[in-house]
Amino acid sequence: MNADEVRESLAFSEYARKRARDDMGRPWLALVLLASLSVVSLSLTDASTSPTVLFWVFAGPVGAGAIALYAHRRNRSSGIDSSPLAYVAITVGLLILSYTAGKIGFAFHIPGISRFGPAFVAAVGYFALAWIERSWMVAAISFSLLAIAIAIIGFDFNPQQSTALVFGLYGITLLAVGFSMRAARRQLP
């Protein structure tokens, strides 16, 4: 056996791992959707608290159900099955964190936390996804969201500016993720 053979075996092993990760259920896409919902819901807290509560009563179960259905269908069709436990744990964590961030901000009259909370929660969610997916790209998204959250506090943006900033970045991020995933799939041998 020579070094090239060992290198080739390692490369093949890494290819197989990457292919499996790429082909797995991708429930995290649904999770990103739910994280987006959390940001939307917290932006509603500027107007009133009651729509937020009503929103979560429906959005929480609908979002969780969407993730479960999506993962189940994808797993059955693709032939490779991932454990949903980590995704479910992250989703529940995101819901609790985002709700708590909004509540704390309003309860203690700290508007900065209410505005900073959604971006921070989304950053935490993306960081967890980055860990699961072993993806530097998703990790970079997490850090950029965190930078936005810090900028919101640092420059004391008003609620409208904060919301526009978060949603603008969110939109760009989702588009970038979508295009890069598509590009990555095309590059697979």
Partner: protein, 104 residues
């Protein structure tokens, strides 16, 4: 004194078997058709490799009926995961200790 390459596990060092364990280590389970597609092997070839891995206790194979068709799901065991991790570590160590093109 033994050569470092003697630490490699012949059961899983074979390319296809290494690929099977690599795929399974990333997932909860994978079906036969998926493995055949990813590893680009024939059904008979894959069956033989799976039998070797199952006999060594590295994978578990379960058959089920879904939508009126038979489906074979393969799961990696704890022993299989450990064996793969060990194999990859040995190969990396071999590479680290070698210059390009030298005999391992």
């Amino acid at each position: 004194m033994t050569h470092p390459s003697s630490a490699l596990d012949d059961t899983i060092h074979q390319r296809v078997r290494l690929g099977i364990l690599a795929v399974l280590s990333e997932s909860r389970r994978a079906d036969f058709a998926y493995l055949k597609d990813v590893l680009e092997v024939t059904a008979g070839n894959l069956s033989q490799h799976l039998a070797v891995l199952e006999e060594a206790g590295h994978v578990q194979i379960a058959k089920s009926f879904e939508d009126k068709r038979s489906r074979t799901w393969v799961t990696v065991t704890r022993r299989g995961r450990a064996a793969l991790a060990s194999e990859v570590a040995i190969m990396r160590a071999l590479l680290d200790g070698l210059g390009s093109g030298q005999r391992a």
